[in-house]
């Protein structure tokens, strides 16, 4: 027990985050076919960088939870390897799991245990000697300190979610998996949760979260992976993704409907919508020449009267929906 503890401390000390830091989680050729014959994961390769927040997006049944479950030890892989901080999750499971904390999707708890006991139990289960000061810190960070003697059954859903996070943090993991952390959580609590996650990242914890809420990934993540039908179809820096795929649209609302796009405007990528009352222009806001001035002049010259004008940046959600649609 003491040996493994010093190893953990050493690896922490020598692994300061840097641009060239090796991956903290590295997934190679990972596959999973359940006994029913259902192939949940096709060969998957994925690298999670030390200290980042990685968001895994995907529709229901895409394989998000299966992937996380394999890395955390809940499901046996069918093939391939996973290294957590350099430790194989099957061969060297003790060292690997010691570094990982998991907050599951379902709100499960031992109903009759107190908050304090259940969090202390988790720490023991992960082989760490009792450390009331650490447990106290975790509970205070998650605004659970006042509830420490409450039985779990008396807590609200949001509070139970916090308890699950506290349990996952009780053994000081370097890698934290949050499976749909804010599902069914109200807006205020969601904001709180995001703050908690940011604080953890500042403390050096690598965070991998799965989510349905695109805005969550947009708000939090450094990098985004999209998984669909058991395949990782894209892994990209969030900013780059937004820039590359994030097209802007300008919509002109017209006084009079147009039957067709006038020949004078044929050079512009325009679409006519809303029974001819709307002209939509797609452009790349990162380019030197967006073509807006030229288009507006041409519209003016063509004698088209504009009632209103708006521009819109496509969100991660649009990107995501398009990606998944393209694949189908």
């Amino acid at each position: 027990m003491n040996d493994s503890l010093t190893v953990t401390q050493q690896s922490r000390a020598t692994s300061a985050p840097s641009d060239v830091a090796p991956a903290i989680v590295s997934v190679r050729n990972l596959t999973k076919t359940y006994a029913s014959g259902y192939q949940a994961l096709k060969p998957i390769d994925l690298e999670i960088r030390r200290g980042e927040i990685f968001a895994l997006l995907g529709p229901n049944g895409a394989g998000k939870t299966t992937l996380i479950s394999i890395i955390c030890g809940l499901v046996n892989p069918s093939g391939g390897t996973v290294l957590a901080d350099g430790h194989d999750i099957v061969r060297d499971y003790r060292a690997a799991r010691e570094r990982i904390g998991l907050v599951p999707q379902e709100l499960t708890s031992d109903a009759f245990e107190s908050v304090w006991n259940t969090v202390s139990f988790s720490r023991g289960l992960f082989g760490k000697p009792a450390d009331p000061a650490h447990v106290e810190r975790v509970l205070k960070d998650l605004a659970l300190w006042d509830k420490r003697d409450n039985k779990l059954i008396t807590l609200s859903g949001g509070m139970k979610r916090r308890v699950l996070i506290a349990k996952a943090l009780s053994h000081e993991p370097q890698i934290l998996f949050l499976d749909e952390p804010t599902a069914g959580v109200d807006v205020e609590l969601r904001r709180d949760m995001w703050n908690v996650v940011r604080r953890l990242r500042e403390a050096g914890v690598t965070i991998i979260l799965t989510t349905h809420y695109i805005e969550e990934a947009e708000e939090m993540a450094d990098r985004i992976g999209v998984i669909n039908k058991g395949e990782i179809i894209l892994v990209r820096e969030k900013r780059e993704l937004m820039r590359q795929l994030g097209r802007k649209q300008m919509t002109l609302q017209l006084q009079q409907p147009l039957a067709a796009i006038p020949p004078a405007l044929a050079d512009y990528p325009l679409e006519l919508a809303d029974d001819g009352f709307e002209l939509t222009y797609s452009y790349d806001s990162q380019q030197e020449q967006t073509g807006i001035t030229g288009l507006l002049n041409a519209v003016n010259a063509a004698g088209i009267e504009v009632k209103d004008l708006q521009t819109r940046q496509s969100s991660l959600e649009d990107i995501f929906v398009n990606l998944v649609k393209e694949r189908q």
């Binding site: 006994a35 955390c72 030890g73 003790r94 799991r97 499960t108 139990f121 023991g124 289960l125 082989g127």
Partner: protein
């Protein structure tokens, strides 16, 4: 060896027993005491001594065994079934502990509870009937081995069961009949000869016989057969548990 984790599971389980003291200790002790009163007192007074032991005293080892088997099975099966049912088992599976350590924690706690119960019932029984224990070391050995074996069996049932009905099925339909027909309340030579032979296929006969021998020095089957049977059972349960964990059966798909 992650002893901290084993201790955490063990303590967690023992705390659960303390929380449910009425159900886990008081109720089995009370119901077994009722057997003493009814069988030992009311019926026993009409039955002559069996191999020199009064009927009231004769049934004590059998009753302790009856309680030991049912409580070990139900305790251990519930302990692992409930996390599976409620979903909290995720934590156990994601923790840096080996299968052996999980079993050690759960089965250790369940067996401890059963042994404590057995001793409590023994103490209660001594209030009703004059008792002698000729071989106390053997008595404890049988107590501990049986508690361990049937806690393991309970663990297996708890993993196998995927609903509450199945959880109750084996204790009700297998353990209880085998115990009642296993010489708890009688010596098997009180049976017609055909039943004497058939009853030798009942493993509980060997446990009760060995346990009773440690009290009174009388037995239906030889001590070696009793010890052999309990060790065979223990080995069988260990092999099944090992298989469960190797294949991930019902817990790690």
């Amino acid at each position: 060896m992650n002893l901290t984790a084993v201790r955490a599971i063990y303590r967690f389980e023992m705390a659960r027993a303390r929380r449910t003291l009425l159900q886990s200790i008081v109720s089995p002790v009370l119901s077994t005491s009722l057997y003493f009163v009814v069988f030992g007192g009311a019926i026993g007074s009409r039955i002559s001594e069996i191999q020199g032991v009064s009927y009231g005293a004769f049934i004590v080892p059998g009753l302790i065994m009856l309680m030991l088997l049912t409580q070990s099975v139900s305790n251990a099966s519930f302990a692992i079934f409930f996390p599976k049912f409620s979903g909290t088992i995720y934590e156990l599976l994601s923790a840096p502990i080996s299968h052996f350590e999980i079993v050690l924690g759960y089965v250790g706690a369940a067996a401890t509870k059963s042994v404590i119960l057995g001793l409590l019932i023994l103490a209660t029984a001594s209030l009703f009937v004059p008792l002698q224990i000729q071989h106390p070391i053997w008595m404890l050995l049988f107590l501990v081995l049986t508690a361990m074996t049937f806690s393991l069996l309970g663990f297996i049932i708890g993993i196998w069961a995927d609903n509450f009905e199945k959880l109750q099925l084996v204790p009700l339909l297998v353990i209880t009949p085998l115990t009642f027909l296993g010489g708890t309340f009688y010596s098997i030579d009180m049976l017609p000869s055909i039943w004497q032979t058939l009853t030798l296929a009942n493993p509980v006969v060997y446990l009760v016989s060995g346990f009773r021998w440690s009290f009174f020095g009388i037995n239906d089957v030889s001590l070696a057969a009793s010890l052999g049977m309990i060790l065979l059972f223990l080995g069988l349960c260990l092999a099944i548990v090992a298989w469960i964990f190797r294949t991930g059966y019902r817990i790690r798909p």
